[in-house]
C-alpha cells in the first residue's frame, strides 16, 4: 500500500511542452509519462533537447507552453523541495567538502550533532572519507561529481535528476558514479538521468526516453528501446551513426 502511494507520488507527466527561441522550436513534447520506478535514462545526440527537458521537469525553466505534473498536480514548490539535481559540471561551493554537505543539511534544519553524523555517513557512502576538510574545488573531476551527488542525496530527495554526470569522466570514475546512482535507486530514489552514452543506458536504465531534434521519438522499456527500436531515429542513433 505504502509502495503504491510512493510510486504514485513519483509519476511525472509532461503535457504539451514547448520551448522556442527566435522562432525555432527547441523542445516539443506533446505527452510523456514517466511512471517509474526508474531509473529513467533520457538518451539522444547533442542538441536533442535533453537538458532542456530535464530542466523543465525540475522546474528550473518555465516552458513557453504546456506544463509538468507530479502526483497529478502541476509541479509546485513542495514537489521541487523533494527533488534534487546534479549538473554536467558539478557546481561546488568554494568551501570544504564537508561544508558543501553541511550547507544543505543546515537548510534542512538538522542540528549540529545530527549534521556531523550525517556528513560522515555521506562521505563514507561516496568514498570521500578523509577528504572532509579538503577544499571542494580542489577535488578531481570524479570526486567533485561524487560530492555533488552526495549533496543532492543529503536533501533526501524522492526524485534525483542528473544531467550527463559522467560525460567528463574516465571509465573508472564513471563506474563509481554509476554504482552510487544504482544504490540510490535501490534505496528508493527515483532517478531521471540524461546521457548520450548508449552503454550507460544499457547498464542503468529500466526505461529509456529517446530524444532527437527537440522531440521524444520513443519511450519504453529499456530492453525494448535499446534492442528493438521502433523509430528510424532511434535505430540510427543506436547504430552509432550521427543523427542530424
Amino acid at each position: 500500500m505504502r509502495d503504491l502511494v510512493s510510486e504514485m507520488a513519483r509519476r511525472i507527466t509532461v503535457n504539451g511542452l514547448q520551448i522556442a527561441r527566435n522562432g525555432t522550436a527547441l523542445l516539443d513534447v506533446p505527452h510523456l509519462t514517466l511512471s517509474g520506478p526508474g531509473p529513467t535514462l533520457i538518451l539522444g545526440p547533442n542538441g536533442a533537447g535533453k537538458s532542456l527537458l530535464l530542466r523543465c521537469l525540475h522546474g528550473l525553466i518555465a516552458p513557453d507552453k504546456g506544463y509538468v505534473e507530479q502526483d497529478g498536480v502541476p509541479l509546485n514548490a513542495d514537489h521541487k523541495a523533494r527533488q534534487a539535481m546534479v549538473f554536467q559540471q558539478p557546481v561546488l561551493l568554494r568551501r570544504s567538502v564537508a561544508a558543501n554537505l553541511d550547507f544543505v543539511l543546515k537548510r534542512q534544519g538538522l542540528q549540529r550533532v545530527a549534521r556531523k553524523t550525517r556528513i560522515a555517513d555521506l562521505l563514507a557512502q561516496g568514498g570521500l572519507d578523509g577528504k572532509a576538510r579538503q577544499a571542494a574545488r580542489s577535488l578531481s573531476g570524479g570526486e567533485a561529481q561524487r560530492l555533488a551527488i552526495l549533496r543532492a542525496l543529503a536533501l533526501d530527495p524522492d526524485t534525483l535528476f542528473l544531467d550527463e554526470p559522467t560525460s567528463a569522466l574516465d571509465p573508472g570514475a564513471t563506474q563509481v558514479i554509476e554504482r552510487m546512482i544504482l544504490r540510490a535507486s535501490e534505496g528508493g530514489v527515483r532517478i531521471v538521468m540524461v546521457t548520450h552514452d548508449i552503454g550507460q543506458a544499457r547498464r542503468l536504465a529500466s526505461d529509456v526516453v529517446m530524444m532527437q531534434g527537440g522531440h521524444v521519438v520513443e519511450h519504453g522499456d529499456a530492453r525494448q528501446v535499446l534492442d528493438d527500436p521502433k523509430s528510424d531515429a532511434s535505430r540510427k542513433y543506436l547504430a552509432g551513426g550521427l543523427v542530424t
Binding site: L60, A81, Q83, A84, M85, V91, L93, R94, A135, S138
Partner: protein, 237 residues
C-alpha cells in the same frame, strides 16, 4: 656635498629608536585608513552585492557611475569633501574640517567605489555560476547573497587590501580636508610632502621607508591570498 648619507642615517635612527613624533604620525595614518576601509566595506559590499544580484531599471547606469567613481582624482574628492564640510557647506555645523574624521570621510569616498565595484564584479560572476544550483537547492535570490559573499571572501579581502593601499598612500584629498596640522592631522603622506619642501629630509625619508614597507606588506598579503585561492580552486573567472 656629502650626498644624503647623513639624512639616511638620521632617518633610520628615527625609526629604530622609536621616535615618538614619527610613530604618532604612522599610528594616525593607520588609524585613519583602517577606519576608512572598514566603513567602506560596510557600505561597498552590500551595495556591490545588491548591484550584482538585483535587477532594476537604472542598474547599468549605477554600475558605470560606480566604475567611473573608482578612477576619480583624489584631489577633486578632497575638494568636494572640503566644500561639504566647510563652515558654509551643508555639513559645516558638524565642524569636522581639519579633523581626522574629515580625512576618514575623504578616504571613504575614495575607497568605497573600489570595494563596491570589485564586489559587484566578483559576486556577479559567482551568481552566474551558482544560479541554477542554488535555485535547485531552493535558495531564494535574497538568501543567495550571504552565500555568494562568503564564497567570494578571498576576492573581497583582496579588494579591501587594494582599498587600504589606495587610502594609506593617498595625499591630495587628506591634505585638503585634514590641513596637515601638527599632532592633529599629520599623516605619513602629508608629512612627507611638507617636510621635503622644508628640507627636513630625514623625517620624510623615515616615513617614506615605512610607507614602502606597508605597501610591500599589503602586496605580499594579496599575493599570498591569490596563491591560496589558486590552490583551493577559489578563483572566480
Amino acid at each position: 656635498m656629502h650626498g644624503f648619507a647623513v639624512e639616511f642615517n638620521t632617518a633610520f635612527t628615527l625609526i629604530l629608536n622609536g621616535d615618538p613624533e614619527l610613530w604618532a604620525i604612522v599610528l594616525l595614518s593607520l588609524k585613519v585608513s583602517v577606519f576608512a576601509v572598514l566603513i567602506s566595506a560596510l557600505i561597498g559590499m552590500p551595495v556591490g552585492a545588491a548591484l550584482a544580484v538585483a535587477r532594476f531599471p537604472g542598474r547599468r547606469v549605477l554600475i558605470i557611475l560606480m566604475n567611473a567613481l573608482m578612477g576619480f582624482p583624489p584631489v577633486v574628492v578632497g575638494l568636494l569633501v572640503y566644500l561639504m564640510l566647510s563652515r558654509s557647506g551643508p555639513l559645516g555645523v558638524l565642524e569636522l574640517l581639519y579633523t581626522p574624521t574629515a580625512m576618514i570621510i575623504a578616504q571613504v569616498v575614495l575607497v568605497t567605489p573600489i570595494v563596491a565595484a570589485l564586489t559587484r564584479q566578483v559576486v556577479e560572476m559567482l551568481a552566474e555560476e551558482y544560479s541554477e544550483q542554488l535555485r535547485s537547492l531552493g535558495v531564494s535570490r535574497l538568501a543567495s547573497v550571504p552565500v555568494l559573499l562568503w564564497d567570494a571572501r578571498l576576492a573581497l579581502v583582496t579588494a579591501l587590501l587594494a582599498g587600504f593601499g589606495r587610502a594609506i598612500a593617498e595625499v591630495g584629498a587628506v591634505i585638503i580636508v585634514g590641513g596637515n596640522i601638527n599632532h592633529v592631522t599629520r599623516v605619513m603622506t602629508t608629512t612627507i610632502a611638507l617636510e621635503t619642501s622644508k628640507g627636513n629630509l630625514a623625517l620624510a625619508l623615515a616615513l617614506g621607508a615605512i610607507l614602502i614597507g606597508i605597501a610591500i606588506a599589503v602586496n605580499a598579503m594579496v599575493s599570498t591570498l591569490s596563491l591560496r585561492a589558486e590552490r583551493e580552486g577559489l578563483r572566480h573567472a
